[in-house]
């Protein structure tokens, strides 16, 4: 019984993942094709490169750009299905090679930001929840204010303070660990504010539950109650949102990497989109999708570890559903 349901869940998850990959490929194709400009001219380096009509005609023929759009789309999907990401128009490298070069800085930035965001959120919630009116409303308003900060503005302000006024951190680059601090903070502080809001609310709800009172009556201190009993409940909504948050972070690296002149996928994506470099854009969007799929798998496992009820209730609801 359980086994069958587990396999069904696996199938629906695989289906969802394939759907996401297919949707990202299709959306990228449509979006890049909708951009103004002749694709053959773009492959030859854009209108500025002033390609001869003969060269444009040759490229049009070679890339099959004279065929109907639906046929081109078919070929595009066919190549992707064979794992062929193609060669970037603008960088003249295999897309897989560009991804390999650019993925580490971005993944490091996004995961460090997610980690820092959680750390900030937990510190804010733990230090201020149920600590009297003044402290708890101070904590709550700190969360809201942090969540309202646009990451790129925060990035510029941090850049001005720590790089140009105090000369503590390097203003640009992606080689050293120190260069990771400001970009990670500018992504982590707003996200941390958001996670703290979510966690604080569920913590407040958890603390109103009867089992908290009974734990206090058994003589546990408030700190012990928070750690042992309320925390598990309070973490769940934030954990469930973490895969989404990682995806959002990967999107926001586009702006942050531009500000701090960092190497990475976000900045490369902006270049690829502005150069209408279809293979590279597709490669990066697919990469982000795969990262999201893997992250949501990991998050789901963590979620079930934190909340064992979930596995049971899912079995129950699944049997009702079928």
């Amino acid at each position: 019984m359980t086994k069958r349901l587990a396999s069904q869940r696996l199938i629906s998850r695989i289906g969802l993942s394939l759907g996401m990959l297919f949707a990202s490929a299709t959306l990228t194709f449509l979006a890049v094709r909708m951009m103004p400009g002749d694709p053959a001219t773009i492959i030859l380096g854009g209108a500025m490169a002033n390609p001869t009509p003969g060269a444009v005609a040759a490229i049009t023929k070679e890339y099959g750009l004279d065929r109907p759009l639906i046929v081109q789309y078919g070929f595009y999907i066919w190549r992707l299905l064979h794992g062929d990401l193609g060669i970037s128009f603008s960088q003249h490298l295999h897309v897989a090679e560009v991804l390999r070069q650019q993925m580490l800085p971005t993944l490091a930035l996004a995961s460090l930001s997610l980690f820092l965001a959680w750390a900030l959120a937990l510190v804010s919630v733990f230090c201020t929840v149920r600590r009297g009116r003044v402290l708890s409303s101070l904590g709550a308003s700190l969360d809201i204010s942090a969540a309202a900060l646009p990451p790129f503005w925060l990035g510029i302000v941090l850049l001005w303070i720590f790089a140009f006024r105090l000369h503590l951190l390097p203003p640009a680059g992606s080689s050293s660990l120190a260069s990771l601090i400001m970009p990670a903070l500018s992504l982590a502080i707003p996200l941390g504010g958001f996670l703290a809001q979510v966690t604080r609310e569920s913590m407040e709800i958890a603390l109103d539950q009867p089992f908290i009172l009974s734990a206090r009556m058994r003589g546990l201190s408030m700190g012990q109650v928070l750690r042992r009993h309320a925390l598990r409940h309070a973490l769940l909504p934030g954990i469930a949102l973490s895969a989404w948050a990682l995806g959002a972070l990967l999107g926001e690296t586009a702006v942050i990497e531009a500000i701090f002149s960092r190497k990475g996928l976000g900045r490369t994506l902006v270049y690829a989109v502005s150069a209408q470099d279809m293979p590279l854009t597709t490669g990066i969007v697919l990469f982000v999708t795969v990262a999201y799929i893997l992250a949501s798998l990991v998050i789901e496992i963590i979620h079930e570890l934190v909340d064992p009820r979930l596995a049971t209730s899912r079995r129950r609801s699944a049997s009702l559903w079928l």
Binding site: G15, L16, G19, M20, A23, S24, L27, T28, A31, V32, R33, M34, M35, P36, S141, I144, S145, A147, A148, L149, P150, P151, F152, W153, I156, V157, L159, W160, F164, A243, W244, G247, A248, L250, G251, E252, A254, V255, A258, I259, L269, V270, V273, S274, Q276, T281, V285, V288, T289, Y292, S296
Partner: protein, 279 residues
């Protein structure tokens, strides 16, 4: 379970934050509708001799690389930034309602299908979607609002969808069905108002989020072209001079922060009022 009675908050009990938030939003509305009432100077007027003046009495926010007054430009930029924010939310909200209603009220296979489509699209980073769309739609306020609006549809669709599903199976809808009301009347009188009421708050807060996204895309050069007074574009220009002239970037960004903060505070306040919780 203790049910607390619904309390109405008297005006004088309103916390100072809500007054401040509403005050700031009213100020923004005035600035968006009649910017000249607040700052009569021309936001495009260049004065090369007054370039890079730091904030003082004549120029409270300083001047930019062409000697234009930053305060004037921030005030005159309000209209565009608010229009993009509100426009994008209107687009994504309507898109979300259509998707959510079709999915929530349709037959079982439509429900499953739209649910899967929403799940697939929701997991996309909205900023990447908006980046792709805005590159294909072109630059300017309208295309920017459209790109962000489309990118945010799945998020709103997901919320409307789950609201419609829960309302659809509620007691009062079943009662109305038992009384023989037409499906159209049930949707209009029961499903729509009850499913959408909680989402009005989300939409209010969404305006702030879309302004942040719009500013981010303008920052990447996908919004209004440079001389236009627009918050994101102004910050993008100011970034090049950050080492010497911090005021070029700080003040437009501060207006975004205050806008997002005000919409969040007001949205949460409305949410509490709607839920009948007073504190």
């Amino acid at each position: 379970m203790v049910i607390t009675p619904k309390k109405l908050i008297a005006w004088e009990q309103l916390p100072i934050a809500i007054l401040f938030a509403s005050g700031f939003l009213v100020f923004l509305l005035v600035a968006a509708i009649i910017p000249n009432a607040i700052s009569a100077t021309d936001p495009y007027a260049i004065a090369p001799r007054h370039a890079f003046l730091s904030p003082d009495w004549n120029h409270p926010f300083g001047t930019d690389q062409s000697g234009r007054d930053i305060l004037t430009r921030v005030i005159h930029g309000t209209r565009q930034s608010l229009l993009v924010g509100a426009g994008a939310v209107a687009i994504s909200f309507s898109g979300g309602i259509i998707l959510g209603l079709a999915g929530g009220l349709g037959p079982h296979w439509v429900q499953k299908g739209i649910g899967a489509v929403i799940d697939v699209l929701f997991s996309f980073p909205a900023l990447i979607l908006a980046l792709l769309f805005s590159a294909s739609l072109g630059t300017g306020a309208g295309p920017l609002a459209l790109a962000i609006g489309i990118a945010a549809v799945p998020g709103y669709g997901k919320m409307v969808f789950s609201q419609v599903l829960s309302v659809r199976h509620s007691g009062y809808v079943e009662a109305a069905m038992a009384l023989g009301h037409t499906p159209f009347a049930i949707v209009r009188q029961h499903v729509l108002p009850n499913a959408l009421r909680p989402l009005i708050v989300t939409a209010t807060m969404g305006v702030g989020q879309t302004i942040v996204w719009a500013a981010g895309l303008s920052f990447l050069g996908l919004g209004a072209p440079p001389p236009t007074p627009e918050w994101g574009t102004m910050m993008s220009m100011g970034r090049d001079f950050i080492a010497d002239a911090w005021w070029l970037t700080l003040f437009p960004g501060l207006f975004i922060v205050l806008t997002v903060l005000s919409t969040t505070i007001l949205g949460r306040f409305l949410q509490r009022r709607l839920e009948g919780r007073s504190s």
